[in-house]
Amino acid sequence: MGKLRPMEGNEAIAEAMRQINPDVVAAYPITPSTEAVQIFARFVADGQVDTNYVAVESEHSAMSACIAASLAGGRVMNVTASQGLALMWEMLYIAASLRSTVVLSVANRALSGNINIHCDHSDAMGARDAGWLQLYGENVQEAYDNAIQAVVIAEREDVRLPVMNCYDGFLVSHSYELLEVEEDEAVREFVGPYKPVRPLLDVQNPYTIGPLDLYDFYHEHKRSQWEAYRPAKQAVIEVGKAFGERFGRSYGLLEPYFLDDAELVIVALGSTAGIVKDIVEQRREGGERVGLLKIRSFRPFPAEEIADALGSARALAVMDRAAGFGSGFGTLYPEVAAALYAGGKQVPVVDYIYGLGGRMVLPEEIHQVYNELAPVAASGHPEQLTRWLGVRE
């Protein structure tokens, strides 16, 4: 049994990192994730972990050092946000392509410009095709639990991919919550010792990491990387289940909430799911068949599972906390719509772009979404495919 302790999201991430005791953390502070590395730096200074902590000069170098440390044979973790993640962009692709197993917690924050420090998902969404797995946590407990599971998922021999542990900037990173912190030993046992696959300096099998790869083989290498996301999906499911068996909190690719008979369904990522849950409960009391589909694993994207989970839905709203400029939609909508189309589901789907740059999402706005979904379900055709929620215009 874990201990209940009040903690902020960043503190919980640092705590998970302390328990996991990675070999290397190469970090650069950025709001709103700074505290996590700061607290972790204290653990290093106090000798509570054996981690080699490197205070690098930028996120670009941070990720470069992390990838190299991982490929050299170390367990590597890091924390960043927003511009920091954006500056890592070049390295993110390399991290996944070279099959490093870096675990990066991301306190989701808007991207410049204009400069903004508050929550939205445009940072992680910008990295959605980089090849990283992306888990989204709803609250402090999930951010902590996901940090632990991320290590196991990343390092599984049939996965070997870097994992982003996304938690909403300020809304989760700076919110106190009564957290169930598991025992150090139990966490260490769950993640197990790190077993690197082909670390550097195996003198019997010398090799080069990341050599020139042109039209003769690059295409095949990408194809082989493509295959890794199927076992990765299985790993997210299995590790979530094992975590539940060990600690009592189970996780999957998705979290359905009152979905079995739901006709009006909201699809959401991150902390917004918590608000939607409250509204679902309220409206259920009034007899309305409403539900929530929370996506926990955005990468790998559970397309078949989403189509299967929405059997009774008559109208769907996708909550998008990032705008896909020029696409006409947010970033989550096209993926959900494609999942439904591929799964043969004929359900009208409306996209709601909301909460950019930390704009608060209010309970009445979630009510508004359900209210607007009712006529869409009745007519079968949304008047507008994309709507902006809580915007002054």
Binding site: Y28, Q38, A41, A45, A55, I115
Partner: protein, 263 residues
């Protein structure tokens, strides 16, 4: 009862006023922070040179992220570390403008070190005001590349060890070797005589730009009482006793050929 006669007041010569190059926005820096002094010195120089209306400031990321609210000229807010590259773009398309960046040590000496060195190497005709307070202020007191050995920060709670955290970077000494630098000086915002010397250096750094001489940078050793965990007076003492010995004051490059070097 002697009422003040407004006509008399109008005849008085104002001795100390807000420079036109500063807005009326009250500054939100911590008490005793020297950013206010640095802002004012820059503004006084812009007034003196009569260039405010053709000046563009490039604000950076750090405590001075709000510099654009205080400088009464057009401003561009750059991404972290990129100010010299942004200034380059502005200056190239508007060569008659006066362009300066205002950057802290987190911005300039850490994430943006490449930008400043290459702007200098290209002899970009811009002026850089570099605030070195040896700590990341805005993100709440983490180690900067300029933090002194032994300095306690939130990421070095037992003090910066050079074995683990590396050695503090001396930016003027690095840039001194770069061809293309027209003017380079390090001053301190401590005692009044130092502040006067800082003002003179800033003046020269803008003159260099106006003469088309090349890249100019003034490093201003500054205090951060909040994240040095010192009273303002103690912080000023620390500036004198710890910062100045590590970061010697002086004029390192002067395009007019009179650089005195380290003082």
């Amino acid at each position: 009862m002697s009422a003040v006669n407004e006509a008399d007041l109008r005849e008085l010569e104002p001795l100390y006023t807000r420079p036109e190059s500063l807005t009326e926005t009250p500054m939100r820096y911590c008490p005793a922070c020297t950013h206010g002094t640095a802002h004012r010195l820059v503004a006084e120089v812009l007034d003196e040179l009569g260039v405010r209306e053709r000046t563009v400031a490039v604000a950076s990321v750090g405590c001075s992220v709000y510099a654009y609210e205080y400088f009464n000229c057009d401003c561009v807010q750059a991404a972290h570390g990129r100010a010299p590259a942004v200034a380059t773009g502005i200056k190239r398309v508007r060569p008659d403008s006066v362009v300066f960046t205002y950057q802290g040590d987190g911005d300039l000496a850490s994430i943006g070190l490449a930008e400043v060195i290459h702007a200098a190497a290209r002899a970009e005709n811009i002026t850089v005001i570099f605030i070195n307070n040896a700590v990341f202020g805005m993100t709440q007191g983490q180690m900067a590349p300029t933090s002194l050995p032994g300095q306690v920060t939130t990421t070095t709670p037992r003090g910066r060890s050079v074995e683990q955290g590396g050695h503090p970077l001396r930016v003027c000494e690095l840039l001194r070797e770069v061809e293309g630098v027209a003017y380079l000086a390090r001053r301190a915002l401590g005692a009044p005589r130092q502040v006067r010397a800082a003002r003179k250096a800033i003046h020269k750094a803008f003159e260099a730009q106006l003469e088309g001489a090349g890249f100019a940078l003034v490093e201003l050793l500054s205090i951060c009482p909040t994240f040095w965990h010192k009273s303002p007076l103690e912080a000023l003492k620390h500036l004198e006793q710890a910062m100045v010995p590590y970061y010697p004051l002086g004029e390192y490059v002067d395009w007019r050929g009179s650089a005195g070097g380290e003082e």
